[in-house]
């Protein structure tokens, strides 16, 4: 499996921000996504294309609109590649603890 496009896509802060936006609320149009960013429509489109080619964003047509969805499966596959071998429960227990500590801080 070729993970390179996924890592490349994730290596850019604007693209991570776009994924954050979709994580907050999925199924957004280009117009909605670009309104959050100080960037040209063309710039946002270029970043979305990189995310789409990496499989991190999937688009669906809804009437006349093209909606963008965050597809977390490629990240899950990277996770499985290195984490699954070890006790996943222990890792998630540590992650829970970290979240709990950060919440109370």
């Amino acid at each position: 499996m070729n993970d390179d496009p996924v890592f490349k896509a994730l290596a850019d802060p604007t693209r991570r921000l776009l994924l954050d936006r979709l994580y907050e609320r999925d199924g957004r149009s280009l117009t909605e996504l670009e309104s959050d960013l100080e960037m040209t429509r063309f710039g946002v489109m270029k970043h979305l294309r990189v995310l789409e080619e990496a499989g991190l964003v999937v688009t669906r047509r809804s009437g006349r609109e093209k909606l963008h969805y965050l597809n977390p499966v490629p990240i899950r596959l990277i996770h499985d590649r290195w984490i699954d071998k070890y006790t996943e429960r222990r890792v998630s227990a540590l992650a829970d603890l970290k979240n709990e500590l950060e919440d109370t801080a």
Binding site: E24, D26, G27, G55, V58, D84, N99
Partner: protein, 151 residues
């Protein structure tokens, strides 16, 4: 901790080195689902209007109950979804699950799962989000290596 706002449509996509027919079998045959779908046994004739059910590994408890809405082997399968394994999700309105399989070059197929009509099923939306990732990752591993994900 940030939590994802439950949305009314969820889309999951994965590329699997397998034919559309192999993927269709993996979705619709219990000998496959028992190896990647939380051990569950799918139970359906796949005829439109008939039940689409998923049973617990011991086949004694109904986990998922639904009805086949659309069946076009090996390209598209759609059914309603009520998750009975959880009291809160069982009380919600049914949502809809659709599988789309598109052949690509090089013996690879693109598999997309769309879980939508979740407007009246916010608990279900929360509940299934991690599950579909686990299931698709498990199906890919099973079809490409012949082994289920160790867990």
């Amino acid at each position: 901790m940030t939590t994802m706002t439950a949305t009314t449509t969820q889309v999951y996509q994965v590329f699997i080195k397998a034919s559309p027919e192999q993927i269709w079998d993996a979705i619709t045959k219990p000998e496959f689902t028992s190896r990647y779908f939380y051990g569950s046994h799918v139970d359906s004739t796949l005829e439109v209007g008939t039940p689409y059910r998923g049973w617990s590994p011991d086949r004694e408890t109904l986990w998922v109950d639904g009805e086949v809405l659309d069946s076009d082997p090996p390209r598209r399968l759609s059914y309603t979804w009520r998750a009975l394994y959880d009291e809160e999700t069982a009380a919600e309105e049914p949502s809809r699950v659709s599988w789309e399989i598109e052949p690509q070059e090089g013996g690879v197929s693109k598999l997309t799962v769309v879980h939508d009509q979740l407007e009246r099923a916010p608990k279900t939306a929360e509940n299934v989000a991690g599950g579909w990732m686990y299931i698709l990752s498990g199906m890919k591993t099973l079809l490409e290596t012949g082994e289920p994900l160790s867990s």
